[in-house]
Every structure is written in structure tokens, then in C-alpha cells.
Symmetry: C2
Subunit: 404 residues, 2 copies
């Protein structure tokens, strides 16, 4: 089983097991670390030196003097290195630098069309990383990893987009390869909904192991955390709920080529289109949110109905995944309780009682920060894994390939 | 994250990390194990002694003499201990003893009503374990763990059934507690579909990390393996697809209290009922399978339609979970290709191309052995985990609680 493979790898790697103990931020002595790992004191010393060389751990002063020579304690140094987190949307992009705990240090946002293609968009990112590093007064060598969220399906193991519908020029593009020609650090790429799921969980639900994040905006998708881990599925497209068929959409064409998809009636553009049919001036999904906030009854009813439609599909998801929290984000979630109320109305009626008894359905709490936080967590989680640390330790000289 | 917690625990436990290396069955020297784990030679020696005391590893002779004193190699001893696997159905029960690799050594099956209650059913199980051990000529102390599958929802962490619809007297019953008053070894209890998923994967798809097992019989359910691990969800009821609503079942009452559930039109009894309405003599689901095998056209059409109905729900599952293999088992799957063809017809038409491009949909290969094999794998996986080994090492004297 996978668990077995992983624990073997842990045993076989160098400093990884030690570092996992330090990721909680608590300082420890070498004797404590030797006791906790069963490693020889000399081995602990060698491995701590390797982590210190990477700048990831360092000595901490004892708060209280015990008299005599104080034991030398070491701890994670969250500010020792910085992480680049990028949130690339269909028509905007945001880059940020964070510390090793995911805290945002500095960021920049611009309107940017993904359709300009990978050279333009990634070029913009690389340029801005330089500016952000300069603003922080950090050297480029301080950058330890890069996490990127893209608005389409991504094969996580290679970082390449797979048939992304709204990203001309990006299909099968080697994103990590391109980025690493400019910045030689590990690059992790995933789709935007997966990284928002990671970010939302990290921000608001860190102890929840069965968690569903739903994004409802121009498209509709979800990120699934089961058993404490993000689940990407065999092709990296798990959570694709936008193209599940629902009865009320029967016959309505969807841009995917099928008819009857959830996205064809419950996405931002679909709700706006339905309102225009009723004579309401609603050019975009965002305008629908504005109308709801101004109390427009047609818009409120349309959003509530979209919530019910989404709830129809989430009912199956609840029976299937049995999450304890569903967080609903994306621009349409800014319409607030009207949307969530529609979702709850259907899910609590239709799902099995055992599955809804302890189920919480709420609006996203991380809001627009979910993606940046998630991209940072994605990069930190992988680069500071035992395999990632092995790579870091060997990369300076060898330039080996990035483990994902 | 969960990964981190687990690796910390691995580091902190005694012999677990060493044992994970040996679970592949390959013999290794102490020097090799020290190298692979980074542990001191003396530590390896102490931990191997602990595993040898449990009878789990032992010395193996070298195939080729190298001249001089041969290095002493150790390996997993699959026959050193036995595992009890129990498959308790609605109206049958089967118990088997397996070795530490899951190979069945001896088994016994009887018609037995789950409705007789836990005392009668578990009493039958305990009685038969004694007989099976005697047939093998093994002592009761050779039993290392027990895995039990039950036909209803089970809270895995406690081993207690949760509102099981067809199991009067079992709700919240402490199954492990009852069993351990008779046999003091770790007891792991899960629902039958989850253990069938584990068994089917172990038998036919050991390298597939995204796997869905569907049981279609008196009821309909599924077991989900994502990221290489069985996913139980927050209340242990993940995979409950029998009560997802589908359009063709609109208005048809289901025993769950709702209307329109998949189970209300596609289960064995539902298909039989539909055939009787057409004037066909089909008292049970099993009789439908017989009719199909004899070429009855009404029965073939009804089974194919049930496959389409199941496919309707699996379409959402495929979009959500993105598995690479779906195996369909349970008594109705014995109707063979007619059922599977109906499933494929809908799933390959309706799911996203990216999700179906590499998707295999097949009949279960482990067949009726899936449950016994899965119950054995469930018990072995947990009792031979680092936490389980710690418990084993301390249990003889202390009688501590079972870690799950």
C-alpha cells in the first residue's frame, strides 16, 4: 500500500524525518530529537547540520537560564526562506511571497488574460517575483519553492495543463520547466480549485480531514480533501462537478459539448443570461452579485435557484464523499446567504440523515486569499517533505529533477 | 497535515519502521536494514529481537553459500501467525483463517440471519474460529488479529454499527469489545462494501491508487480507494450511492424513506419486482440472474436498464473521484456483460472525456472471495502498522486498548 512505500522512503531519506518533527515550530534539544526518532546522537547532529545549511532550522535561545551551560535548542526558522505563491485566473493574476508557515509578506495583483499564453503570463510572474523580492530586500537565493494555481485541469505530477478549455496555448505546456529556466527552485502547479481547497482548509478548518471546497464563478468546480489529503484522482481532475447532469438543465447546451450540465444553468454567466431573459440588466456574473446586494428580487430568486441546482449535485457528493464541512467560494459566493440557503435546502432534504447530521455548509472564510494561501501551502508541503528536502540538499550542485 | 503526524509517529515508535521494510517479503541483513533506515546497528538489533519475539520475522538461510560465515538475513514469516477474516452478510456468514499475506488457509460458510442479533452471530463466529484453528492444528495464541465485514454502516474507529437498516439489535453494538472478551487480539470492523473494495484491489488491481468498487445485490453501495487509501468519510459512510436520486426513479418510494433513489429501481429485488409486473416469474434478484443466463429477453433488458441507471450515478462519481478502474461485484454482477454494458453505455457517453479516456469498467475478479480477502487485508494492514506493532508488543502483559 502507498502508506508502506512512504514510510520506507521516510526511513531511507536523510534529514526528512527529523524535520517533520520540527515543522510544528517548537524548539527541541538534540537529545530530545534523538529520543523521539531513535536515531543515534551523531546522526541527529549530521542531519541537523544539513537542515541548518539549507537555512531551515537554527538555534534558539532559552527563555529562562537554567544556570550552567544551557542545552542548545533548535527550531524551524519560518522567515529563513520565502515561497512564491501565484494565483493565475482567467483574467487576473496575483503573486505573493510568503514565509515557511504560509504567511503573506508582500503581493501584487493585475488584470491579465490567461489567453495571452504561457510566455506572456509566466513572464509577467517571473518579472514580478524580482520586484517583490526587491521590495522585501531578499535575495533570489532566498526563494525555496514556487506554487502556482491555474484555471484549468493540471496533471500534478508533471505540472502540465491537460486540455484546459479557456487557456489557448497552454495545453501540455511544461510550466515547471519554463519557470525553472528563470528560477531554479522546485515548482508545483495545480488547478485553482484544488489550491483554494488547500488554502481554505489551512485558514479555517485545519483539523477537518473530510472537506469539500466548491468554487462557483464563471465555471463550477470543487476540491476534495479526504482522509486529510487532497484527492486529485487518476488524471488529476477529481472534483469536476460542473459537468454533472441535472434534471432542470435537460436540453440546455453546455460549452463542454454535452447538454444538461450543472454549469449550464448555475454558473455566474448562466444566471446572468437567465436574468437577461427576464428583462433584467445583468451583463455578467459579478453584476448578478451587485443586483442581489441591492435587493433585486429576480436576482435573489435566480441565485437561490442556482444554490438549489448546486445542492442537487452536492447531494450526490455528500453521499459519495461524506465530508463534514463544505465551504462555498468563488465570485458568486459573494451573493452570500441566498446561494448557501438554496444549497442547504436541497442537501439537508435529500442526503442521507447520517451524512448530514454533522455536516456544516458555509461560505468560504479565506475569501480571495484562499488561492494564494493554498499555492503557498502546496509548495511548502511538497518542498519540505522528506523527498523534497533530499532534492534541496542535492540540487545546488547536481540540478536534479524536481520530485513531486 | 495528516502525513506529518503519521511520519512523526513512525519516528517515535519502536520496530514499526523496520517492519515496514520487511513487509515486501524480501530477506535482508542487519547491515542492509541499518543502511536503509539510518538507525544504529545496535538499535536495529534490539528492534529485530522485538519483532522476532512476536514471531513476525525470522532468520532465512542463504540460497548460495558465499564461503566463510554467511551474513544472517531476516525476513517476514507469513505463516508465523494467522488472521481471522469474517464476512457476515444479511443471510449468510463465512469465516476463514489466512496467513500474514492474506492467503486463505481454511474456511467455513453457513446460512445465518444477521437479524438473529450480535450475540448469536458473533457467538457462531467465535465457535467456528476454534474449530478452524483445530483443523489447522494451530493454537489460539497464533491468532494475531480479526477483520470483520458487516452488511451496514460501521464507525470504523470504534467498530460499532451506525443505524444499520437490516441489522436489528446491532445499532451501536460494541463488536470489538464483545469479540475481545473471547479472543484478546485486535479486532477491526468495517462495512462489507469497503472490505470488498480492499479485497478486489488486493486481488486484481494492487497498483491502482484510484479505484471504485461497486456492489449491486439486495442493496447498492460502493467502496472508494483514493490516493491508495480506503476513504471512509467523516461518519464512515462514504460511497453510499444507493440513495442518490435519479430521474427514472422519480416518485418510486425507497425503503430509506425518500423517493427516487437508485436502489429503488436498480437493486436485485427492484429488478425482480419490475419483471413480475411484466408477468415474468422472478421471485428474487438471484432468480433474475438465472433468467439472464437462460437467455430470457425481458430479464436481459431489465438488467441492461439497471446497468444504465447505475451508470447514471457512476457518471457523477467518475467526475467527482476520477478513478482509473471501476469493478462491479455483488450477486447481480453475476448477470455478467449485460449489466456492465449498460453501465459503460452511460458512463462513456456522459462523463468528461478526460475522465473516461483511461477508465476501465469491469466485473469483479475476486468474486465471492473479495470480502474474506478484504477482511484479512484490513486486519493485517492495521495490526502490522507501526502503531499496531507497538500495541502487540505491549499487549501480552498490559491489555491496553486496540489502536485503530
Amino acid at each position: 500500500m502507498t502508506e508502506t512505500t512512504r514510510s520506507s522512503a521516510l526511513g531511507a531519506t536523510g534529514a526528512g524525518d527529523l524535520f517533520q518533527l520540527l515543522r510544528d515550530g517548537l524548539p527541541r534539544t538534540r537529545a530530545e530529537l534523538a529520543l523521539m526518532t531513535g536515531l543515534a546522537r551523531s546522526t541527529v547532529g549530521v542531519r541537523l547540520d544539513a537542515l541548518a545549511d539549507l537555512g531551515l532550522v537554527g538555534p534558539v535561545a532559552d527563555a529562562v537560564s537554567t544556570g550552567g551551560r544551557p542545552p542548545s535548542r533548535v527550531a524551524l526558522m519560518p522567515s529563513a526562506r520565502v515561497v512564491l505563491a501565484a494565483d493565475i485566473g482567467a483574467s487576473h493574476a496575483r503573486v505573493a511571497l510568503t514565509d515557511l508557515m504560509g504567511n503573506e509578506l508582500v503581493s501584487h495583483r493585475e488584470d491579465l488574460e490567461i489567453a495571452l499564453g504561457p510566455d506572456a503570463v509566466l513572464g509577467w510572474m517571473v518579472e514580478n517575483v524580482g520586484l517583490l523580492l526587491a521590495r522585501l530586500g531578499r535575495a533570489s537565493g532566498d526563494l525555496i519553492a514556487i506554487g502556482i494555481g491555474l484555471p484549468g485541469p493540471v496533471q500534478f505530477s508533471t505540472g502540465r495543463p491537460v486540455n484546459p478549455p479557456i487557456m489557448p496555448g497552454w495545453d501540455d505546456f511544461d510550466v515547471p520547466g519554463w519557470v525553472r529556466r528563470h528560477m531554479d527552485v522546485p515548482v508545483f502547479v495545480d488547478n485553482d480549485v484544488n489550491i483554494m481547497a488547500l488554502g481554505e482548509r489551512s485558514h479555517a478548518w485545519p483539523t477537518i480531514d473530510h472537506f469539500l471546497f466548491v468554487k462557483i464563478a464563471t465555471g463550477i468546480g470543487s476540491g476534495i480533501i479526504s482522509g486529510g489529503r487532497l484527492q486529485r484522482g487518476a488524471q488529476g481532475i477529481a472534483g469536476d462537478i460542473g459537468h454533472v447532469r441535472i434534471a432542470r438543465a435537460a436540453g440546455i447546451p453546455c460549452h463542454c459539448g454535452n447538454t444538461g450540465c450543472l454549469e449550464a444553468i448555475a454558473s455566474g454567466p448562466a444566471i446572468a443570461s437567465e436574468l437577461r431573459r427576464l428583462g433584467v440588466d445583468a451583463p455578467t456574473g459579478r453584476s448578478v452579485v451587485d443586483l442581489v446586494r441591492r435587493g433585486n428580487v429576480d436576482a435573489i430568486q435566480a441565485v437561490r435557484q442556482a444554490g438549489r441546482d448546486l445542492g442537487e449535485v452536492l447531494t450526490s457528493c455528500v453521499n459519495m464523499i461524506n465530508p463534514s464541512v463544505i465551504a462555498i467560494g468563488g465570485s458568486m459566493s459573494l451573493a452570500g446567504e441566498h446561494l448557501i440557503a438554496g444549497v442547504r435546502e436541497v442537501v439537508y432534504t435529500r442526503s442521507m440523515p447520517l451524512a448530514t447530521e454533522h455536516l456544516t455548509i458555509v461560505q468560504s472564510r479565506a475569501g480571495e486569499d484562499a488561492a494564494i494561501l493554498g499555492a503557498s501551502m502546496l509548495a511548502i508541503h511538497h518542498v519540505l517533505s522528506p523527498e523534497g528536502l533530499d532534492w534541496l540538499a542535492s540540487s545546488a550542485s547536481a540540478g536534479s529533477s524536481v520530485p513531486v
